[in-house]
Symmetry: C3
Subunit: 210 residues, 3 copies
């Protein structure tokens, strides 16, 4: 991360922990063992950025360069085992943390791709991959059809956040201000989508003919 | 792509569109939302080549270098939503386009690996990965056992096409002629396999003992 | 592989064959065709090392550099089709070979990461990925929740083996001795875990509230 690190870093830690905790709950629904819970936490929290880096050829990966991230995410997942009985009381907080994760990861992903001078469409996609793919890996490893493709506005929030961030940077607005604005708008959009149960239209195709 | 680009390029575009459209129909069977349809279209059409490039360390990936491919494939997938009610009438055309996709992607994948001076077995495998892995990603994301491993002659067509292509190139036949021949034979083989319901023998193992 | 190659190489071949054979049996349970069996064998046996190399940016991948490995693993998988009716008699041998595979792949993965001067935590993780991810790919492609996350001590064996290996190397013990010791302890641990049905505690989370 470039010089915006100071602002993004604490948010990124919150996002990693939040993603690892949601993964731990998914692991618990599949009756995984403790090490499986920790691994799924790491993969979910760090998988989006890893896929982005591999696709862009951006080495070393974040967690390879900063291995303590494995301890943070694995530890958060393990901690969730102990907290699980209280988790339902904090359901709203979880949704908030997960939304923060989505928006922060998106901004970080755009940031990496901008730093590589990628074309704008790739920057948006890099943000989406960073924000969304961790959850896809979680769902595939739990043997579910990824929620990303079916549910609420999630990838859309990532796109809007990314476009705002890129637009601001290209317009040479102060990076800290751009991050704050993209963060605020993205988070609001996501929370509104949850609250109002906004969904994108679905494509339902039943025929056996094709 | 080297100088054979002129011949392969239009076929590659047809192949990308065809793969994206089949992915859109699969997405519709899983009731994905519109953005999910577009994403699955991109992943299916561009995923085989991406996996090949990542495994070979061949950067930048095609779509990272040519981001408009994301618009082509995502757009084709979205268009399919509107066309779905007519699709069953065009079932045969779909199968044809998908077969073109398989053969063209295979040739393109071999071409990339040849350009990297890979050993011949890796060239064949690079062709297979390019031709077949997109469909595997589609099936995994739709929570199915990949069709590739179970059904009709699909990977076999890719192998035969690749071997023909490589053989011709190594024998210093004119590249355009080699492409045309590999394309014609591969396509015929695939269409015959569909028409005659050719299948490879299956391995059925029921025991719970291992 | 550095100079420890002489000791690890024959064990690695046994491990590759064992992993390919277990994959073939899984393929047979899903009624895959022969080419699917061969492909699943290659992916399972070589997939863990491939994922490790892609994540670490360690090119070329082993099988790209040594394509005969595809023939070894694909061939072993195909051979298993013929042997399947006798396999239940050799169930114990299969478990032993699979355990050898886990331990040897772990040591090889640690070895690669050590050669790249990765931090110790990454070395352990590289060993785990090499030892365990092939089976995860097999399970995902067979549309199962990966056994790795749910069952017996498997990843734990990999961690213990990796820690022993790294500890010995860092203490400047002779590499051959370290390999032998890590191999013996890891294998014993794994076989004890199977024999005594040792399991890690599971996290079971049923609530629909989160």
């Amino acid at each position: 991360m470039p010089h915006t690190e100071a602002l993004l870093f604490p948010l990124a830690m919150i996002a990693l922990v939040a993603e690892a905790m949601t993964a731990a709950l998914a692991a618990g629904r599949r009756k995984m063992d403790w090490l499986g819970v920790a691994m799924l936490g790491c993969i979910t929290a760090l998988g989006g950025g890893s896929v982005r880096d591999v696709l862009l050829g951006h080495y070393p990966l974040w967690w390879v360069d900063s291995p303590y991230l494995l301890l943070v995410t694995g530890g958060a997942a393990l901690l969730t085992i102990g907290l699980a009985r209280f988790v339902h009381r904090f359901h709203a907080i979880f949704l908030l943390l997960d939304a923060i994760g989505l928006v922060v990861f998106t901004i970080m992903g755009c940031n990496i791709a901008l730093g590589m001078n990628q074309p704008l469409l790739i920057v948006v996609v890099a943000g989406m991959i960073t924000g969304c793919v961790g959850g896809v890996l979680r769902d595939v490893l739990c043997n579910d059809v990824p929620l990303l493709f079916r549910s609420e506005l999630y990838a859309s929030v990532s796109i809007v956040t990314g476009l705002l961030y890129i637009g601001g940077i290209k317009l040479q607005v102060s990076p800290d201000l751009v991050i704050a604005a993209a963060f605020a708008v993205g988070l609001t959009f996501r929370l509104l989508a949850i609250r109002l149960k906004l969904e994108m239209p679905k494509f339902v195709y039943d025929s056996d003919n094709a």
